[in-house]
Amino acid sequence: MKNLVKWFALACIVLTTPARAALDIVITEGVDQARPIAVVPFVWLGEGPAPASISDVVMSDLARSGTFKPLDTRALPQVNIHTARQFTADSWRNISADGLVVGSIKPYGAGQYLVSFELIDLVKAQLQAGKGPVAASELLLESRETVINANQFRQYGHRISDVVYEKLTGIRGAFLTRIAYVVVKQGQKSPYHLMIADYDGYNEQMLLRSPEPLMSPTWSPDGRRLAYVSFENRKAEIFVQDIYTQARVLVSSFDGINGAPSFSPDGKKLAITLSKDGQPEIYTIDIATKAIKRITDHYAIDTEPSWFPDGKSLLFTSERGGRPQLYRVSLETNKVSRMTFEGEWNLGGSITPDGRSMIFVNRTNGRFNIARMDLATRFMQVLSSTRLDESPSVAPNGTMVIYGTTHEGKQVLAAVSTDGRFKARLPVGQGEVKSPAWSPFL
């Protein structure tokens, strides 16, 4: 009987999932602390059925941010409104939410639509409700309208989310971004796939498929190119690929390891790991001229270089202290200083965009988790609680980390907020998913 119930539950899941995208999110922790927000379904002002829903994108973006918890639309007191002028504060007096998003979609010539939205300050509206009538414009935190093409609904939804998020938090939204990752489908002739998708897993596209491993995708600062490692020639080589033109350039193919690429902030160089002289060392390579410059010189393993935002030094992993730890090397003086001392291992580090903290993989009591360290206070906090965590990549606004982990025996992607409160998993249909890289702002 118990089994039957289980199977039924499983069947329900299977039957209801096909409509989902390749990478759908399961929020595992942190909903309680999220701030409520109301998003009224955008009103369609045309004939026939609406072409697409934008407010669904906005709601899921805000939920995925971990900062907001959109209210159930069925519980909203006014649902057919699309401007602040139609808003009546009295109807909303029992609703507790930071803001209210309303909007409309209107046909605008062939294949085009006029999308309008407004962000209403619900707290202000409620505070002033008893003090007589207030002009709608006084309650507006934001009001915009834009003409979009039929294929831009999701994209513009993310744009609206960016605006709403920034208005309410003061932090730039990172909803109009992408992720790159590697999918391995064992048993296929070419099991290794380099993929990109919108940050939420929609619009997944394959950039490369190979019979041999693909590793370490990383974005150029303009979000136009990816550097990655490919074993297609039976050795590790670094390629740079334009994601729009598909043009590929072989950048580094020395003897031994060519690995762990990381674009310089100006996009002209890569920091890489080469073992051509024996052991893995950090180098920089000019993408255009292929000129290399050796940065580290030690008999231990040096790898995983990553740039400080000012481009003047690199963070890297070294075993020179006996176990992998994070170090900083100045590109001007080649002077090396150790950054981490806590925990058994600390590796795979990167500096957050604000330059104030560092995200990396920490090993404590044999467990590998994602951690953050404040650079000024050296305070370290373990963020994740999943298994075999690796490859952390920080969102361009510094609020979230996407990383590779293991769930139910499979490699999957997960996300954790940089304060550790919000945790989510991004399950997949087929194959193992790993090496995520979050794009810059697009």
Binding site: Q186, P213, M215, S216, F231, R234, K235, A236, G256, I257, G259, A260, T273, S275, Q279, P280, I301, T303, E304, T317, P324, W345, L347, G348, V361, R363, F368, R387, L388, E390, S391, T406, G409, K434, S435
Partner: protein, 179 residues
């Protein structure tokens, strides 16, 4: 290009021939040590005559060669967690490969280094390379020419065991000799 293909084909064919030789020799060894009754050609029609045979008596050198042939079928060397030293229990296997490579200076071997899934992929690439190089250095110590050996690290990208258990990790921490 064609020559290269031929060379690759030979690389496959040579070990296969060695395997074939191995299995047939071990049969004859059994014959030599066990009974000889199985070799009768016919019980009737030859005037009731039965013939028997004995396996060839192997010189110590031949026996050693056959033993090494057998050992060379083991082409995986396992490592401890985060370590790249060649363990002494692998000495016999590596001796077999080393002697073969010294006797056949035209044979080339690719040494793959692998790691388990713990740690980061990039660190594991470095670790895998160090393991492969430790094997290469060991063989070089036996007289194998560096030009006969090439090294590639796949880090944690090509696990043998996908269980992500301790025993699975142990199977994935390996060096592989590919002829």
């Amino acid at each position: 290009m064609d020559l290269n293909k031929l060379f690759k084909a030979m690389m496959v064919a040579v070990p296969l021939m060695a395997l074939g030789a191995c299995s047939s020799t071990s049969d004859s060894e059994t014959d030599a040590s066990g009974s000889t009754s199985g070799s009768s050609s016919s019980q009737y029609g030859n005037g009731g005559i039965e013939t028997g045979g004995a396996g060839a008596v192997l010189s110590p050198a031949e026996q050693q060669r056959l033993k090494e042939q057998e050992l060379r079928r083991q082409n995986i060397i396992y490592f401890d967690f985060d370590r790249s030293e060649v363990q002494t229990e692998n000495a016999e296997i590596l001796l077999a490969h080393g002697n073969y490579l010294v006797e056949n200076p035209n044979v080339r071997v690719l040494i793959e280094g692998h790691a388990d899934e713990r740690g980061t992929p990039e660190y594991n690439i470095a670790l895998g390379e160090r393991r492969a190089k430790a094997i290469a250095k060991y063989l070089q110590g036996m007289g194998v020419q560096p030009s006969q050996m090439s090294v590639v690290s796949y880090g944690e990208e090509k696990p043998l065991d996908f269980s992500r258990s301790d025993s699975g990790f142990a199977k994935n921490r390996r060096g592989v000799l590919v002829y």
